[in-house]
C-alpha cells in the first residue's frame, strides 16, 4: 500500500475514479503499465501536472501487451492523443482504458423504446438517462474557419481534442481513418484491410464496402454518419462483448 500512496495522492485517485470507469486497482495497474512503457522519464510521484504532460511515445505504447496485437492500435492512440501524434499522457492513457473497461455501461440498448414482450420489460435494468445522449456533446473549442468550408479540400486540418469517452464514439472514431468525421468508402476499406491483413482482392473490398453501405447507410450518401453507425452497431450482439480490454 505504501508505494501506491507515494505515486498518487488519495485525492488524485478519488478524482480518477470519479471521472473514469476504472476501479482503484485498475488505475494502479494502468500506472504500472504506463511506467513500464515510459521508462525512467517518469518521476516516482505522478502529480496532476506530470500526469497530463509527460507523454509516452507511440513506439513504446505499441509494445504493450494489451495493445500490441490490435490492428487498430495506432488509430486508437491517435484518437486519444488528441493531436494525431498517437503518444499519450497518463491521463489520456487511463481514458483509453476507461472507455474499454468492463465497467463502462454497455447496456445502451436499454434505451430503445419498445420491448416486444411485456414480460421482458422488468428483466432489463433501467437505463441511465444521460449516459447515451451526453456522449454526443460537440467540443466547444472549434476554430472559426470550421464555419466556412476551407478552400482547398486536400489540406487536413489539425484535429481538435477528441477523446470521445463513450465506447461507441471511440469505435466510430477508430474506424474513421481520414479524420473527416464520416466513415466514407475509404475508411471502410481501410477497416476491412486492417481486419484481414490485406488478403482480399480489390473487387472483394469494394463489394464488402458496398454491402456495408447498403446495410447501414440510411440516407444513401455513401458514407456513415455517427448516428447511422450507432444505429447499426447496436444491433450487433457481439459488439459490446468484443469491445473491451481487460486491464
Amino acid at each position: 500500500m505504501g508505494n501506491k500512496v507515494a505515486v498518487f495522492t488519495e485525492q488524485q485517485l478519488d478524482e480518477y475514479q470519479a471521472c473514469t470507469y476504472l476501479t482503484r486497482k485498475n488505475i494502479l495497474r494502468a500506472e504500472r503499465l504506463f511506467r513500464g512503457v515510459c521508462g525512467s522519464a517518469l518521476p516516482t510521484r505522478l502529480d496532476p501536472i506530470t500526469a497530463s504532460t509527460v507523454t509516452a511515445p507511440y513506439q513504446a505504447l505499441d509494445t504493450l501487451t494489451e495493445l500490441k496485437e490490435n490492428p487498430f492500435r495506432r488509430r486508437m492512440c491517435q484518437v486519444f492523443s488528441g493531436d494525431g501524434s498517437a503518444s499519450l499522457t497518463f491521463e489520456q492513457f487511463i481514458e483509453l482504458f476507461s472507455v474499454f473497461s468492463d465497467h463502462a455501461p454497455r447496456d445502451i440498448r436499454a434505451t430503445k423504446t419498445h420491448a416486444p414482450l411485456p414480460i421482458l420489460l422488468f428483466l432489463t435494468p433501467p437505463p441511465f438517462p444521460l449516459s447515451h445522449a451526453l456522449s454526443l456533446i460537440p467540443t466547444p473549442s472549434t476554430p472559426l474557419h470550421a464555419l466556412h468550408p476551407p478552400p482547398t479540400p486536400s489540406t487536413p486540418l489539425p484535429r481538435p481534442p477528441l477523446p470521445s469517452h463513450s465506447l461507441l464514439l471511440t469505435s466510430y472514431a477508430t474506424s474513421d481513418f481520414d479524420d473527416d468525421g464520416y466513415l466514407g468508402e475509404e475508411d471502410l476499406q481501410q477497416t476491412v484491410k486492417h481486419l484481414t491483413h490485406d488478403l482480399l482482392t480489390q473487387d472483394e473490398y469494394s463489394t464488402i464496402v458496398s454491402k456495408v453501405l447498403e446495410e447501414a447507410d440510411v440516407d444513401c450518401d455513401t458514407k456513415l454518419s455517427q448516428s447511422e453507425f450507432i444505429h447499426v452497431i447496436l444491433k450487433s450482439p457481439d459488439f459490446l462483448s468484443n469491445f473491451h480490454i481487460r486491464i
Binding site: K112, P129, L130, P140, L169, Y182, V192, C220, P237
Partner: protein
C-alpha cells in the same frame, strides 16, 4: 417555424426540446441562420468541404446541404427536422439543453476554460442535476464519466461542482441538518457498495484464468469457460443447499440416537437395517461423505479397512461402481430416513419433507435461474436484432475484432478467421444472386429428410440396443447374484459413455454431407442431434428402471406384504451377519431408486475418467505431432501449425450439458450429485485450461459467441425441463420402494404429496379436475394462441413499419438532394426555364410518386443527367420547404 428546421441538427441527437429554446433564442439574435451555423461547431464538420466533390453525384442530400447551404445566409438546412428522426431516446437533461441553446445563439466558448465555465454554469442551473441525494450524485458521476472531454476538463468540472455544492450545502446546512446527515450516510453506503462490487469483480472466481484464456483465444473460447463457471457456481449453490438441509440432518440423526440405538429399532422392521447403515455412516461421516468424489479419484481409500461387517466393506472397485459400501452412505436415496429427527426436545425436523422440498426447491431454483438467463440472452441476441435489414456485413466489419486478444498466435488466427468469414459471406451473397431451381430445392429437402430419418433411426437403434443391454445385464445380475464389487455393473455406463463420446463426431461428419448453407446451420443441427442422442440414452435408462420398479413392485407386492406381517422374525435375524448381507442384497434389488442413483453415479465417474483419458490422448498426440511439425518449421512453415488438434468447443459444451443433464436426472435418486459434479467441473476447468493454453490451437471456425451461447442455454433449459417433467410423471405415477428411502411408508409418491397437503386434498383435486376439463383447456389454449398471434403480428407490423420508414427516408433524401441542386442552380443564375410551369409540373408529379420502381429513373433523369430542369422561383413551393425564410430567398 424557424426553429423547426434545425431541431434535429446536432449529429442526429433528437433534441426534441429545442424548439422552444431555440425559437426564442434565434429570434433574439435576429438572424435565423446564425443558430444553425453555431450548432455545427463540432469537429467532424470542420472538413465537410474537403470531402470529394464527385460524391455529390450519388444524391447525397447531406453533402449537398453542407456544400451549398452554408454560404447562404439562411443556413439552408432544408427540412432538417425530418431527417434522422430517431426513435426517440431519452431527452437530455436541462443543463445540456442550456448549453446547446447557448451554442445555438452563437455563444461559442473561445477557450477550454470558457467551455468548462459554461458547462459548469449550466449544470449548476439544473435543479435536478444538483440535488443533494444519492440520485443526484450518481447522475453527476455518470455524466462526468460519459462526457466527451479530456480528463482535465472533467476534473476541473468536478472541482467546480464540488465547490458549488459545498457552498450550497453550507447555506442549506442550517436549514436541515437531518437531510445533510441522510445524504452523507447514503453517499457512504453507496461508496461502500461500489467498492465491494469492485472487489468482487476483481477477485471473482478464475478472473485471471479467464483473462488469460480470452487473451490467447478470444472471447469465443471465453464463452465456453464462462459457461463452465456459470454452471459451477450454480452447482455450488445447490450443493450448499443439499448439504445444509439434507445431508447434515441425515448425518445428525444417528449420532443423536446412537445411545438408545436398540430402542430406535422398534420403529419399523425395514428401518432397522437402514438405521444400522446410517450408524456406520456417522462413524466416518466427516471425511467420507463430504470428500467422496475427491477420494474416489485416488485409489487408496483409508477407511475401507476399518469396516467390519461383511457386505458393507469398501470394495476395491466400489468407488468406481458406486455400489457396495456406497449403498449404505447418504449418497443415495435409499439410506435417507423416513422419520422426523429432533436435536432439541420438541423441535422436529421431518426428513421426508425436507428431502422432497429440497429437491423441489433445487429444481425450481435451477429453472428460474436458467429461464431468466435464456430470456435475457434471447432478448439481446435475437429479439432486438430481428426484423430489420440484415446487417451481416456491418457486424463483420465493425465488431468482429476482439479487443481482448493479446497473443500473436491468437491474433493471426483471428485475422484468418475474419478473412474466411468475409469470404464466406461474399460467396453466400453471390450465391444468393443465382436462382435455385425448384427441383434443386426439392432434391435438397429430400436429402435433408433422408438424413434426418437416418439419424433418428440410428438413435432409435442405439436406444433399443442400450435397453436390451440393460435388460440383459440386470437380469443376469439378479440371477447370478454377483457380488457387489462386480465389474459387470460397469459395462453399461462404459458403453453409454462411449456412445456419447463417439457418436457426436460421426453426426458432425454426417452434417457435412448435407446441403446446409451456412456452417452456423450445420452447427445447430449437430447440436440438436447430439442433444437428442443424450436425451434418448438417459431417458431409456430412467424408463427402464421405472418400468423395472413397477413390474417388480407388482411381483413383490405379496412378498413385501408378508415381511411386514412378520416383523419379529426379521428383527431376530438381525444379529446374524450372513443373513443380513442377503437381506441387504435383496433390499438393494428392491430399492430401484438406489440402483438408478448408482447408474448415474457410474455414468458421472466413467465420463470423468473417459474425458481424462481423452485429454491424455490428445496430450500425447499433440506432443508427438508437435515434434514433427517443428522439424518442418525450418522450411519456413508458420509457427501456427505447431499443434494440429483444435479445441472443439461445440463438443465440449455438449459434454458439459450432458453432465448437467445427468445431474438433473440423478438429483432425486442421488442427492449428492451436485457435489460430485461440482468437484468434477472444478478439476475439468484446470485440466482444460492447461490443455488449451499449452497444447491446443483455437478453433478456426467462426464462433459467434453471443448467439451460440443462447443456443447452449436453450438446450440446457430443455434438458432441465425434461428432467423436471420426467420427475413429475414419476411422482404422480410411480411407486416407491417399500424397503428404503424417505418415502418408504408410502406405496406411491403421490400419497406423500397428499400427506403434505393433508387438509386441502379435496380442493386440490377439484382444482386439478377443473383444469383438466376439455372446455377449460380449450379456452386456455385459445387465449395462448391469440396472445402469440398478437405478439407475432405486432412484430411483423413493426418490421413492415421499419421498411416503410426506411423507404420514406430514402425518398426524402433524394428529394432534398434534387431540390438543393435546383436551388443551387437557380441561385447561381445559371439556368432559367423557358416554360416553368410545365417543368415544375413534371417535377412535382415525379417527386410525389411513391413507388420504389420510379426512384432510380427519377434520380437519373433529374439529378445525374438532366441539368436542364429549371424550376422557377415564382412557382408554388414544394411541400418539403417548411421554412419561410428559405422560400423568400429563392
Amino acid at each position: 417555424m424557424a426553429s423547426r428546421t434545425y431541431t434535429v441538427e446536432v449529429e442526429g441527437i433528437p433534441l426534441d426540446n429545442f424548439t422552444n429554446v431555440d425559437g426564442s433564442g434565434s429570434e433574439g439574435s435576429g438572424s435565423s441562420s446564425l443558430p444553425l451555423r453555431r450548432a455545427r461547431t463540432d469537429f467532424q464538420l470542420q472538413e465537410r468541404g474537403s470531402s470529394d466533390f464527385t460524391r455529390c453525384h450519388t444524391l447525397s442530400g447531406w453533402e449537398h446541404r453542407l456544400k451549398y447551404s452554408l454560404p447562404l445566409h439562411h443556413g439552408g438546412d432544408l427540412g432538417g427536422g425530418r431527417t434522422l428522426h430517431h426513435t426517440c431516446e431519452r431527452r437530455p437533461s436541462a443543463w445540456y439543453n442550456t448549453v446547446m441553446a447557448r451554442r445555438r445563439q452563437g455563444v461559442t466558448p473561445a477557450s477550454e476554460e470558457d467551455a468548462v465555465e459554461e458547462i459548469a454554469n449550466a449544470m449548476k442551473g439544473d435543479v435536478k442535476f444538483m440535488t443533494d441525494n444519492v440520485d443526484g450524485e450518481l447522475m453527476r458521476r455518470e455524466t462526468l464519466r460519459e462526457l466527451t472531454k479530456p480528463l482535465r476538463v472533467k476534473k476541473e468540472l468536478r472541482r467546480k461542482l464540488t465547490i458549488h455544492r459545498s457552498t450550497q450545502a453550507q447555506e442549506a446546512k442550517g436549514i436541515s441538518p437531518f437531510k445533510y446527515l441522510k445524504y452523507t450516510i447514503s453517499m457512504h453506503w453507496y461508496k461502500l457498495k461500489q467498492s465491494v462490487r469492485d472487489t468482487f469483480h476483481d477477485y471473482s472466481l478464475w478472473h485471471k484464468d479467464l483473462k488469460e484464456i480470452e487473451g490467447t483465444f478470444g472471447s469465443g473460447m471465453g464463452t465456453y469457460f464462462r459457461f463452465l463457471r456459470y454452471l459451477l457456481l450454480l452447482n455450488f449453490i445447490m450443493s450448499v443447499i443439499v448439504c445444509g438441509f439434507l445431508l447434515t440432518p441425515q448425518l445428525l440423526v444417528p449420532s443423536n440416537s446412537s445411545a438408545p440405538a436398540e430402542a430406535s429399532f422398534v420403529v419399523d422392521d425395514n428401518d432397522s437395517l437402514v438405521t444400522a447403515a446410517a450408524l456406520r455412516v456417522s462413524d466416518d461421516s466427516p471425511s467420507s461423505n463430504l470428500d467422496r468424489p475427491h477420494t474416489s479419484s485416488t485409489s487408496d481409500f483409508p477407511l475401507s479397512a476399518s469396516q467390519g461387517t461383511q457386505g458393507t466393506t469398501f470394495g476395491a472397485f466400489d468407488w468406481l461402481t458406486g455400489a457396495g459400501w456406497f449403498d449404505t452412505t447418504a449418497l443415495y436415496y435409499g439410506t435417507y430416513n423416513d422419520e422426523s429427527m429432533s436435536l432439541i426436545e420438541g423441535v422436529y425436523y421431518n426428513i421426508p419433507e425436507a428431502y422432497f422440498l429440497v429437491i423441489l426447491i433445487s429444481y425450481i431454483f435451477y429453472i428460474i435461474v436458467i429461464i431468466r438467463r435464456v430470456t435475457i440472452l434471447y432478448k439481446s441476441n435475437y429479439v432486438d436484432t430481428e426484423h430489420d435489414v440484415s446487417t451481416s456485413f456491418v457486424k463483420k466489419v465493425f465488431s468482429s475484432w476482439d479487443f481482448s486478444i493479446t497473443e500473436t498466435k491468437a491474433a493471426i488466427i483471428k485475422h484468418r478467421s475474419i478473412y474466411s468469414e468475409l469470404k464466406e459471406l461474399l460467396e453466400e451473397y453471390l450465391r444468393e444472386e443465382e436462382e435455385v431451381g425448384r427441383w434443386e430445392r426439392v432434391r435438397r429437402w429430400c436429402i435433408k429428410l433422408v438424413f434426418w430419418l437416418l439419424v433418428l433411426g440410428l438413435l432409435g437403434v442405439l436406444g433399443w440396443a442400450t435397453y436390451l443391454m440393460l435388460d440383459n445385464a440386470i437380469s443376469k445380475d439378479i440371477v447370478k447374484n454377483t457380488e457387489s464389487s462386480g465389474l459387470g455393473l460397469m459395462v453399461y455406463p462404459l458403453i453409454v459413455t462411449c456412445i456419447i463420446t463417439v457418436v457426436p463426431p460421426i453426426l458432425a461428419l454426417m452434417v457435412k454431407l448435407e446441403p446446409y448453407k451456412s456452417p452456423r446451420h450445420r452447427l445447430i443441427v449437430t447440436l440438436v442431434r447430439t442433444f437428442l442422442l443424450e436425451v434418448s440414452v438417459l431417458g431409456i435408462l430412467v424408463a427402464f428402471w421405472f418400468l423395472q420398479a413397477t413390474d417388480h413392485n407388482a411381483l413383490n407386492f405379496i412378498t413385501t406384504e408378508s415381511t411386514t406381517i412378520a416383523p419379529t422374525t426379521i428383527s431376530s435375524v438381525l444379529d446374524d451377519d450372513s443373513l443380513q448381507t442377503d437381506e441387504i442384497q435383496e433390499e438393494k434389488n428392491d430399492c430401484w431408486e438406489t440402483s438408478l442413483g448408482q447408474e448415474f453415479y457410474r455414468l458421472l465417474i466413467i465420463d470423468f475418467f473417459l474425458s481424462l483419458i481423452i485429454h491424455l490422448g490428445t496430450l500425447i498426440f499433440s506432443i508427438a505431432t508437435r515434434k514433427s511439425t517443428l522439424c518442418s518449421n525450418e522450411e519456413g512453415r508458420g509457427k501456427l501449425n505447431q499443434y494440429v488438434l483444435g479445441f472443439d468447443m461445440s463438443c465440449n459444451t455438449l459434454r458439459l450439458i450432458y453432465n448437467q443433464t445427468l445431474l438433473w436426472a440423478g438429483l432425486f435418486f442421488c442427492p449428492l450429485t451436485p457435489l460430485i459434479v461440482l468437484i468434477k467441473m472444478f478439476i475439468t476447468f484446470y485440466i482444460q485450461k492447461f490443455m488449451v493454453l499449452k497444447f491446443l490451437r483455437p478453433d478456426e471456425r467462426p464462433w459467434r459467441a453471443a448467439q451460440t451461447e443462447t443456443v447452449f442455454f436453450a438446450l440446457t433449459l430443455l434438458s432441465l425441463l425434461l428432467a423436471f417433467f420426467g420427475y413429475g410423471f414419476i411422482i404422480v405415477r410411480g411407486n416407491t420402494s417399500s424397503a428404503c428411502g424417505p418415502f418408504r411408508t408410502y406405496t406411491h409418491y403421490i400419497e406423500f404429496m397428499w400427506d403434505l397437503t393433508a387438509s386441502d386434498q379435496q380442493t386440490i383435486l377439484q382444482i386439478f379436475s377443473f383444469f383438466a376439463k376439455p372446455g377449460v383447456v380449450t379456452i386456455i389454449l385459445g387465449i395462448l394462441m391469440i396472445l402469440v398471434y398478437c405478439a407475432k403480428s405486432m412484430a411483423e407490423g413493426r418490421a413492415e413499419m421499419i421498411k416503410v420508414l426506411r423507404q420514406q427516408l430514402k425518398l426524402e433524401m433524394r428529394d432534398r438532394a434534387f431540390l438543393l441542386q435546383i436551388t443551387e442552380n437557380v441561385r447561381s443564375g445559371e439556368h432559367r426555364l423557358a416554360n416553368p410551369g410545365q417543368a415544375w409540373g413534371a417535377a412535382a408529379r415525379k417527386v410525389s410518386s411513391p413507388t420504389q420502381q420510379n426512384l432510380p429513373q427519377r434520380a437519373a433523369s433529374f439529378v445525374f443527367t438532366d441539368n436542364k430542369v429549371h424550376p422557377a422561383d415564382v412557382h408554388p413551393q414544394p411541400r418539403y420547404f417548411s421554412d419561410d425564410t428559405e422560400e423568400s430567398q429563392i
